[in-house]
Structure formats: C-alpha cells, structure tokens
C-alpha cells in the first residue's frame, strides 16, 4: 500500500478563545474556548442546531467572530486558506468535473507542479480504493465513494488541519462505519490534525482523542472528555467496557442539553 507523504512535522495547532457570535438578535456562540493540539483528533459534539457549523465557519475563515480570537499556528485567522480545509456535510464535489479533475482542482488553482501532484493524486486515489474511477463524474459514484473523493480532493493539498463538518451524515449505517475507519486510517497514517463536528456521541468518542461537549444554543463548552482508547483504533473498540463507560459519561451530560430542544 502506498504511503501518503508524511506531514507529521507540520504544526497545525488551533485554538479559540472566548469567541462570541450573534446573527442579528440571535446569540449563537456564547464564549467558546477550546484548543486543538497539533496532531490530535478533536471532536466537538452538540445537539443539532446548537451552532456547530458556525464554529466551523469561523475556524475555516468564512466568518469573523464578533469578539474573541481564533488562532491558527500563532496567527489570527483572517480568511480561508489551503492550510485549513473543510469537508462539508453536503457534497461539494464539482458535479461538472471528473473525479480526476476534482482531485487536481486545488493544486491547479494554486499553480503547483503538474507532474508531482498527478503522482500524488494517483497514490491518494489508490489508497482510497478509487482507482479506475478517475474519469467518472460525481453522480456516477456511490455515496461512500463521493465522501472518499471529497477527502482526497482536500488531502492532496496537504492541509495542516482538516475541519470535518458532519462528514458521515446521510450515509447508511454500514457505509458510515467503514467510512469512520477510513478516516481513522487517514488520520493515523498522515498525522494531520483533525477537528470533527458531529451530533453523535458514539462517533465522537470512537474517532477522537478529546471530545468537547457543547450546550444547546447559544453554544458554550459544557465538558471536556479525554478519550484514552488506544490507537490504532478499530471498530472493535466500540464494544469495550471502556467505550461504554465513556459513552455513559457523555450521555449523562448531553441528555440535559438535548431535552432543552426536544
């Protein structure tokens, strides 16, 4: 199996300090503070509609906070950058481009060397089991393939941090499980810093090193849980006593918040 060029030595530390954000009279973020250590898999978990995507938009640079700071590698986030790439909850593959052209879109826009990126694209496509589908258009691919394609399109740019906005939403249970393991594999092999936003506790605990639990809107960090499950992580970890214990702990905290919007 080909290896992805290692970017373990890159930094990719990110933190938010006391971030507030309102849309008109609606208060969405109410003093968010958390850290994403370099090379870690951090999860933000909150009830649906709690403002998770707003946090994502600020981290990605699409939105500016009303107050507070959002810092990446020691610099304030001013706008979108290829260092911080997003995998969105809806598919954002360009429907009018083949898988190959979707993959190479980033490098082309950044004017990178064609030969080197084509080589890397082939490796990534192979690693994701999509070899042979290069000339297919997105709607010719299955839901799971589209998700993997989206991940490839982002990974080829060697981002320092990957922002995953509910990337498993809408996949059937089996595909979702396989996809989660795929993401774990990519994380463990590349060492890219990752932030996952999700409303599913099991998912957050299964994937993350740290899980931050959010309150219902306006969002605040309610609890931080360190996930001490060993790596490399496999699907069996979900059946351990330890996993069940962590899930119970998180569930008790979240139930109260979920009832608020029930």
């Amino acid at each position: 199996m080909p290896e992805i060029p290692s970017i373990k030595n890159s930094t990719g530390e990110m933190w938010m300090n006391n971030v507030y954000k309102s849309f008109g009279p609606k208060k969405v973020l109410d003093g968010i503070t958390f850290t994403i250590p370099s090379g870690s898999f951090t999860c933000l978990c909150g009830p649906s509609g709690c403002g998770k995507t707003t946090i994502m938009n600020i981290l990605a640079g699409y939105l500016k906070p009303d107050s507070g700071e959002c810092v990446f590698d020691g610099n304030m986030v001013e706008g979108p950058s290829t260092d911080r790439l997003v995998v969105f909850q809806e598919t954002t593959l360009f429907q009018w481009m083949t898988l190959w052209n979707n993959t190479l879109f980033g490098p082309k826009m950044q004017g990178k060397d064609r030969r080197a990126t084509a080589e890397k694209a082939r490796e990534l496509i192979n690693l994701s089991g999509l070899t042979g589908f290069e000339s297919k258009y997105p709607r010719q691919l299955s839901g799971g393939m589209q998700r993997r394609a989206e991940l490839i399109r982002v990974l080829i740019n060697e981002p320092k941090i990957l922002l995953l906005d509910e990337p498993f939403r809408g996949l059937d249970a089996m595909t979702r499980g396989i996809m989660q393991e795929h993401f774990i594999k990519i994380f463990e092999e590349t060492g890219t810093t990752m932030l996952l936003i999700t409303s599913e506790l099991e998912e957050a605990i299964f994937l993350g090193d740290t899980v931050y639990l959010l309150t219902a809107m306006p969002a605040r960090i309610k609890k931080e849980i360190a996930i001490n499950l060993p790596r490399p992580r496999t699907f069996e970890h979900q059946t351990t006593q330890q996993f069940a214990h962590l899930l119970k702990e998180a569930y008790e905290v979240m139930e109260e918040e979920a009832l608020k919007i029930f």
Binding site: P80, T82, L85, T92, F94, W96, N157
Partner: protein
C-alpha cells in the same frame, strides 16, 4: 448408468430480418404517438372530402401539400415559402441572440448583487406579463414599421425568462461549493469561470430554451403589423384572401421550425451537460 440427457431440439431458424425487427421495434409510446397523428390526418381528410365544413375553412390535406409545392416553386409574393421562413428565423434569432448576449450577464449580476437586482427586477416584472402587442404599437410609433421595431419586440420578449432564470440559478448555487473552491485556492475570477458558470449551466440552458420558445410565439404578432415578408406575415396575408390551404401550410411549417429549433438546443445541451446525463 446412462448419462444421456434429453437434448433440446433447436428451434426453427428465424429469418435474420426478424431479429432485427425485434431489437429495433419502436416503443409502444412511439407507436401511440404516430397512430394519433395518423388518426388526425384521416379524420381531417374525411371532413374535407365530405365537405362537412366548407373548404374555405378546412382544406384537404392534399390541398395543403399542393400549396407547399406551389409556394416552394412559384413562391408567394415573389419569395419561396422557405425564404419567408428564413426571413422570420433571422428576425427571431437576431432578437434572441442579442437578448442572450446582453441579459445572461445581467441575470448573473442580478443574482449576485441585490442592488443591481433592485434596479432591474421591478422593471422586468412590470413589462413581463404585458402582451407584446400592447407595447409593439409604441415600438412601431418610435422606430417605424421596418425591421428595427420587429427585432426590438422579439428582443424584449426574449429577456424576462433569461434574467429570471439566470439570477435564480446563481442564487441556487450552494454556498458550500463556492466556499470549498475558495479554500482550495481559487481566485474570484476562477470561481466565476470554473464554478459559477458551469454550475449554473443547466438552468441557463433551460432559461434560454424557454426564452426562444416564447420569442418564437411573438413572431407572428411582430410580422402581422405591416410587413411584406416572413412566415407570420404570409399566414396573415393569406387569411385576407381566404386561402386556408396557405394558412395551414404556414402554420405547419412554423410549428415544425419551432420543434426543430428546440431540438437543436436540446442537442447542444446534451453535449454541454454530459456530466449530468452520464
């Protein structure tokens, strides 16, 4: 022990054309369509033959065919009916192409900027429901009865579907798709040409298709007022002499031309949007 099995006797060999017919059999729907057409022609022929309705109003199919032949060879008022048809097509296409070139960008601008939308939206919404003949009188008053007023009328008729379609198409584009392109390093210019333009292409094509159809229907109106050529004018002129065979001829040619125009656009669309039809 015997291992013999009953060997199926080979079926009688069918003639080779039989399998061809089987694989190339038209669909039931196609057969229904053509049967309907056939029934209409037969009924039409019967009505004309028995003179249930006077021939002044409904000519026989053969009379229409004869009229097609006459107007093709001898012409009508010195021009072959096909040249009349081309004259009309020229007017439609000039008006429509001009509208496409000028208003696709306008539609985009309206979709992207609420301020530009505020300038044009209500103007277009105001004149869109007006019957073109209502303001045609004004155009004739201002620009005379020549080509200019006709082409202008067709141009104006072509605009609303395009601006509405294009501005809506831009608004419908997913924000996440544009954000993704921006994160991947695309400049505003690249986002326009590589994301917005191809992403809205299906709706653009639909809107210009609707626009061409509508423009074509306005054609007769444009040609009725003081023209001396064109298929619309031919129909109108023939009616003054109760030449129903010519009226039928003109209408049928007009209809077929409309169908052909739409087929051409659909063909271009299939090529441009092959990612959608794969």
């Amino acid at each position: 022990m015997s291992t013999e099995r009953a060997v199926a006797t080979p079926k009688a060999k069918l003639p080779s054309w039989f399998s061809w017919v089987r694989t190339h059999r038209p669909s039931t729907e196609t057969l229904i369509t053509f049967t309907t057409l056939l029934i209409i022609i037969v009924v039409w022929n019967e009505i004309a033959r028995r003179e249930i309705v006077s021939k002044i109003f409904i000519p026989a199919p053969m009379d229409v065919l004869r009229a097609v032949w006459e107007t093709s060879t001898e012409g009508y008022h010195g021009r072959s009916i096909w040249v009349h048809n081309l004259d009309s097509l020229e007017r439609v296409l000039i008006g429509w192409v001009a509208a496409c070139i000028l208003t696709i960008p306008l539609g985009f601008a309206m979709g992207l900027s609420s301020k530009i939308n505020a300038i044009f939206d209500y103007l277009i919404e105001f004149y869109r429901p007006l019957p073109p003949l209502a303001y045609y009188t004004l155009l004739v008053l201002w620009f005379g009865i020549g080509e200019l007023s006709k082409v202008l009328l067709l141009f104006l008729a072509a605009i609303p579907p395009i601006t509405i379609g294009c501005s809506q198409a831009v608004k419908n584009l997913s924000l996440a798709v544009i954000q993704a392109a921006r994160s991947l390093g695309a400049s505003s210019r690249q986002i326009f040409f590589k994301i917005i333009l191809p992403g809205t292409m299906p709706e653009i094509i639909t809107s210009i298709r609707i626009s061409l159809g509508f423009t074509y229907t306005v054609l007769v109106a444009a040609e009725i007022v003081a023209a001396t050529k064109g298929i619309g004018w031919l129909v109108w002129d023939a009616s003054k002499f109760l030449r129903s065979d010519l009226i039928f001829t003109g209408i049928i040619i007009m209809g077929l031309t409309g169908v052909a125009l739409d087929a051409i656009i659909r063909m271009i669309a299939r090529y441009l949007l092959r990612w959608k039809y794969m």
